[in-house]
């Protein structure tokens, strides 16, 4: 452990902009991408479930 304080850790020996810019962008993209992928999945799911519901309603109306 070679950091003496939290502030020193965040200062990164004067390279804060570059180091945190890199790690920050990395974290940002790697959080955003899975969220987008998951949203795509849930959107398809939702539309499929809606379609199934529509099928059921159609059947009900026909049988009445």
């Amino acid at each position: 452990m070679h950091w003496n304080s939290v502030a020193e850790f965040f200062a990164m020996g004067g390279y804060a902009l570059y180091v945190w810019g890199s790690f920050g962008a990395c974290a940002l993209l790697m959080i955003a991408e899975p969220l987008l992928a998951r949203r795509r999945l849930s959107e398809v799911r939702r539309s499929l479930i809606r379609e199934r519901l529509a099928d059921e309603l159609e059947l009900q109306q026909k049988s009445q």
Partner: protein, 246 residues
């Protein structure tokens, strides 16, 4: 023997792969987190300050893994694409399609971190360094693949056309890399080599390795999530999809 072959082909159908992928995803996320925590610990708390580059060199712990993954993912993508072309399996094309955005993300990350490293070390955001230039071209190859697939309406045709492009790309990547390297040595007498710049201590190697594993697991997890969405989108009119939803 024959039994096991059949067994493996069973998972090659979207129908059986969809639930399997769903079960695997949490495990890959767990592995991502485990390797990530260990890798970040080494990168920030174990690895010593570099004599020449100070703390700035710590960018290496994501820059190098991102570059590795961007190249590796292209190979994997081309492998799936080629498999789809040869065996005409539906899942292969979906896998290739699911991997492309993650590969492009890795290439973009590699460029971004490369620029942020270059500024303090070389005094410029962008240097026409052989690695950075090939990485840029790799990003273009990914974008071309995605654009071609998006432009073709029929998914089966899109898969096949994308597969040919991916295979052409795989043949070309080494040629592009070596030509850029040659061009670079011809034009710039002294190049600063990204990976060799700091003396490669054992701990740094471990840090990079762990981060690379973390990125690898991450790529698998995201690609599996995306492939599940693609499976549902493409097979939405089949019977099994109607039963698979809960």
């Amino acid at each position: 023997m024959r039994q096991s072959v059949i067994h493996w082909f069973r998972f090659a159908s979207p129908q059986s792969f969809y639930p399997l992928a769903g079960r695997m995803i949490p495990w890959f996320w767990a592995a991502t987190a485990a390797f990530g925590i260990a890798g970040l610990w080494i990168s920030f708390f174990v690895a010593p300050t570099d004599a020449q580059q100070g703390e700035g060199y710590r960018i290496i712990f994501i820059h190098v893994p991102a570059s590795w993954m961007s190249m590796f993912l292209y190979l994997v993508m081309a492998f799936w694409a080629g498999l789809g072309l040869a065996l005409n399996t539906r899942l292969s094309g979906m896998m290739a399609q699911a991997l492309a955005p993650t590969g492009a993300l890795m290439a973009a990350l590699s460029l971004w971190t490369g620029a942020l490293w270059g500024k303090p070390m070389w005094g410029a955001w962008w240097v026409w360094d052989a690695r950075l230039t090939s990485e840029l071209l790799l990003l273009f190859l990914y974008l071309g693949f995605m654009a071609l697939q998006a432009a073709i309406d029929d998914p089966r045709r899109a898969d096949k056309a994308g597969a040919i492009l991916a295979l052409v790309g795989v043949v070309n990547i080494p040629i592009i890399y070596f030509s850029v390297k040659w061009w670079n040595t011809l034009h710039q007498g002294s190049t600063i080599n990204l990976t060799k710049a700091p003396s490669m201590a054992q701990t740094m190697l471990w840090g990079m390795l762990l981060m690379a594993l973390c990125f690898w697991m991450y790529s698998i997890a995201v690609a599996l999530t995306r492939v599940r969405a693609i499976i549902l989108e493409r097979e939405r009119h089949t019977e099994w999809v109607k039963h698979a939803l809960e």
